[in-house]
Subunit: 237 residues, 2 copies
Amino acid sequence: MEFFYCKNLVFEAENLLDENESIHLIQVLRKKIGDTIQVTDGKGQLFEAIITKASSKKCSIFTNSLLKKVANEFSYELHMAIAPTKNIDRFEFFVEKATEIGVHSITPLLCEKSERKVINQLRIERIALSAMKQSGSLFLPEIKSLTKFAAFVELHKGKRPLICTCSGERTLLQDTIDLKSNNILLIGPEGDFSAKEIELSKAAGALPISLGDKRMRVETAGIYVASIFNMVHQKNQ
Amino acid sequence: MEFFYCKNLVFEAENLLDENESIHLIQVLRKKIGDTIQVTDGKGQLFEAIITKASSKKCSIFTNSLLKKVANEFSYELHMAIAPTKNIDRFEFFVEKATEIGVHSITPLLCEKSERKVINQLRIERIALSAMKQSGSLFLPEIKSLTKFAAFVELHKGKRPLICTCSGERTLLQDTIDLKSNNILLIGPEGDFSAKEIELSKAAGALPISLGDKRMRVETAGIYVASIFNMVHQKNQ
């Protein structure tokens, strides 16, 4: 059964669906007051709810029973910081695929060599939401706002993030994956991180890594990393 | 340096570039007779060549020195048979990504539940070619013609292909990867293979496998598999 998403969903209470979800519910599916739907909070809970207000842009629902509660989607966490590509379709494809395969948060990264300096945050969030629903998952990755490289590195100082780069001394990703500590991963823009950025991240405790000897596009590297993390996790179960 | 592709390239001989490569060489890059270019045969060889005929749709080149010869791109082989998606963009994206990450051949598969029953073979080949060049690889995956499921299974009888499916008794992909023998992998259309197809493949020696507990789109499954094979290969080096 198709399910809906509502942020900050409260059990046994009236909750407001956002505009997109309301439009889909009322204008596309033509649901009415009193109809029952399924709704998730994107944090592992799935509820049964009744439509209490059927406005085409602002629906209300009352959550009357908890259908499913999943504590953790994975036994690992993966937080990816990645520079949006010049061609935004490629970045959006990455967001869709990473959500399907499994990722906890995505931080669009603004780097020295970034050609794309703005993104449509809401659109990226909608793509993640749609991929979550399509893959039947109850976990929505958090899409952070566009963050400057230096600010991201400063924020994760001491957490030993892995920084993917194409040159210099590096360790192979699969030799560094430690699901408990190395769960923050940085991928640079077309043209890679600058030497200055690599030095800055190393000074903050980051480990430069290689994805092997294939030259991959930004979004390919992102999907590759999500796949490897997922696979290693399943082996460790 | 940008390089060109020429099928069945002969050393120390005059070779004809195809229409697309000729157009790019003459109309886009504005090269002339006597100019030097680099050209690959897509089988691991890179040559230096001189333009001998600069027609905008049919260029000739003379290969005068071998610049590079790579015997094998990987220590493994991966042959993927995959049902093209209803939305062809998704299939094309898979072809691009699989080429970047590494695949030896792609067979578009016609299955019982396939919604897409025709493909533009030339367009798919061009996408693979473009991805090969972009990733700096000298190996072009072979794009086979659209093949009926039963014919593919019959052709690979006894080779123990791995068939990805969402139900029934299955082994996890990473527990079955044996780079020497299990290098043929089947991925079905939206809605999965039919029960009849699974039975048919099992009777021909195929092993049903699972990609884990995430529900993935067809093209995501394809990229995931290519990533896992590549990663396992690098570990085995």
